[in-house]
């Protein structure tokens, strides 16, 4: 005890000045290397977010100047945009569409994705081919896949042929909502499968070996070993997917179309306001969505403890 304690003490005292001076040097270098990235992010994210906030509180009113008779536009600040957004259920429908898409799609994607990962786990022939196949839905641009599913869900399309039904998918209503969920699930369930597979592959085989020796059932092994150990990977995958679906635009916009009540998301309604040059309300809708996404993200991280930057702050555990 008395022999071992002096050594680390001496070590830290001798290395402390050297390390702190090196840190001062690296701080400068780090600042130089990081400044372009931070500058770009400030420009393409920082500025627009602040500008959108400002815009959302901006109220312009047109009136006739009594002296000159010309039309004048007065700009003032107030909560009028939010008042109109929060009135008459204008927000409720797109909010519910956004939320229900997220709940339904992510649940389906997790179930299918985990099943896929479990099947793909373990070495097998043709691994490369399967991996490529799994990446195809992810690689197809969402707008193009929206078109593809619109074609599949056409009244004379292959979906109705297979189902032997005459569903008018892309008109509006529940079936339109369902078609978006199906298309989104197709596109991203394989992606979740890939991330979960990556998580599965770092689980040491000895654990399964031990479980088999102990005579655990496959179901028990899944609940007690696989699921807890793959949880970090799954939590991060679900978080990314959740945030992605909440801001969904391309898929319902192309697959069903704009201004369809059953599929219009918060992003779409903000876009619609923007294209009609009502920038104030557009910014208000976008801000509401932004806050909603932030709240969901925070709540999710708090609830499930997603370790997003774990690899950045400490060494591999």
């Amino acid at each position: 005890m008395s022999v071992t304690t002096p050594t680390p003490v001496r070590k830290t005292t001798s290395s402390r000045p050297a390390r702190s001076s090196r840190r001062a040097g690296t701080a400068g270098l780090a600042a130089a290397l990081l400044s372009p990235t931070l500058l770009v992010l400030l420009l393409v994210i920082g500025y627009p977010v602040v500008a959108a906030l400002r815009l959302s509180f901006q109220v312009s009113s047109e009136s006739i100047d009594p002296d000159t008779g010309f039309k004048v536009t007065a700009t003032s600040y107030g909560a009028d945009n939010y008042a109109s957004v929060f009135s008459d259920d204008r927000l409720l429908r797109p909010w519910w569409n956004t939320t229900s898409f997220a709940l339904a799609s992510v649940t389906l994607e997790v179930l299918i994705g985990v099943a896929m990962a479990l099947v793909m786990h373990r070495a097998f022939r043709g691994r490369a081919l399967v991996r490529a196949a799994v990446l195809v839905p992810w690689a197809i641009p969402t707008a193009i896949s929206g078109m593809l599913w619109k074609w599949i869900f056409n009244s004379q399309g292959v979906a109705n042929e297979i189902l032997g039904a005459q569903v008018l998918w892309s008109s509006d209503g529940f079936q339109a909502w369902l078609s978006v969920v199906i298309a989104d699930t197709w596109k991203t369930a394989p992606f979740i499968g890939l991330l979960v597979l990556a998580g599965l592959q770092i689980i040491p085989g000895e654990l399964y070996e031990a479980a088999r020796v102990d005579g655990a059932s496959a179901w028990r092994v899944f609940w007690r070993i696989t699921l807890p150990l793959v949880r970090p990977a799954l939590v991060v995958a679900v978080l990314f997917r959740l945030l992605d679906v909440l801001r969904m635009f391309d898929l319902p916009y192309v697959l069903v179309g704009p201004r369809k009540h059953s599929v219009e998301t918060l992003s779409m309604i903000a876009f619609d306001e923007m294209t009609n040059l009502r920038f104030g309300t557009a910014a208000a809708y976008a801000t509401v969505l932004f806050l909603y996404v932030a709240v969901v993200a925070l709540a999710f991280v708090k609830l499930f403890g997603a370790d997003l930057i774990g690899r950045g702050t400490r060494s591999e555990t």
Partner: protein
């Protein structure tokens, strides 16, 4: 003696039991793999098949196009559609976005992976938070800004906002990649008389080439898939990207959507990515999983 034989016999039966079960699960697995491949490829297959039908067979739901026709492809490239030009636009926007993003992200990724400094966690958090913004909140004020600046219908109006999602993705991936490289290499180069900058340029960068390449593929695919920004800041058909113009095809039918033509255009837009995925599937999977988790 008797106990050993018993034990032996028991172990053989157990082994036989597991192999039989193993054979059963092997078949189940093969079936599962087939189901996954079918699930992933069937809609894409339908796009290809639909694109190869004659215009008259458009609503046929036969699993194979008979006869095979390339009418839809020539229709897609019809001058009225401006599809060729749109492909060039897509290529320019996605290509420039990728190139600029990589240059900026390499420095940041290297700093975040190698250097110890205060506020690193904060910067990593900021970068991950940056990738979570709903693009619509960025587009609304940018559209107003670009309108005032006369940037509507320009490449830069699409490239600059695209960096909002491309840059966090690239920095994140490159950080993960640089961290996997042994730090001793740069130290050795510096011992041999290189300055840190030289060590980075002559030793680190060539070795990091595979990681940079992987990141480039991911960023390019994301930029190529972008839709919301492109549809917002461009209203001139000459400047539209492929994704946007395909959704606006009118073709020769006036009231009905020309699905055959759209499917053909969709195949053209998607095929380079599918080929890239086939060739680089391993790298892409590495890149996708390195970003969020490993």
């Amino acid at each position: 003696m008797s106990t050993t034989t018993f034990r032996l016999r028991r172990s053989t039966t157990v082994r036989r039991g597991t192999t039989r079960a193993g054979r059963g699960t092997a078949w189940a697995r093969r079936l599962g793999i087939a189901a996954i491949v079918a699930y992933c490829l069937a809609p894409f297959y339908w796009m290809v098949v639909s694109s190869l039908r004659r215009t008259g067979d458009q609503f046929s739901n036969a699993p194979l196009p008979a006869p095979v026709s390339f009418d839809n492809y020539s229709a897609a490239f019809d001058a009225r559609n401006g599809f060729g030009r749109a492909l060039v636009n897509s290529l320019v926007v996605a290509g420039v976005t990728t190139a600029v993003t990589l240059v900026v992200a390499i420095f940041a990724g290297y700093a975040l992976a190698r250097l110890q400094f205060r506020g690193k966690t904060l910067i990593l958090t900021l970068i991950i938070a940056a990738s979570m913004f709903p693009p619509i909140i960025l587009v609304v004020p940018l559209l107003e800004l670009f309108t005032d600046a006369g940037w509507i219908n320009t490449y830069q109006a699409m490239i600059v906002p695209s960096m909002s999602f491309a840059l966090p993705l690239a920095v994140w991936n490159l950080t993960a990649f640089f961290r996997q490289m042994p730090a001793e290499l740069e130290k050795a180069a510096q011992v041999d008389g290189c300055t840190p900058a030289q060590a980075f340029r002559k030793v680190v960068l060539p070795l990091a080439a595979p990681g940079v390449f992987t990141t480039a593929i991911l960023v390019f695919i994301c930029a190529w898939n972008e839709f919301l920004i492109a549809v917002s800041v461009v209203n001139d058909r000459q400047m539209m990207t492929a994704n946007v113009i395909v959704s606006l095809f009118t073709g020769q039918y006036k009231y009905d959507q020309p699905f055959g033509t759209q499917m053909a255009a969709g195949v053209v837009v998607t095929l380079p990515l599918v080929v890239a995925v086939l060739f680089f599937q391993r790298r892409i999977v590495d890149g996708l999983t390195a970003g969020g988790l490993k």
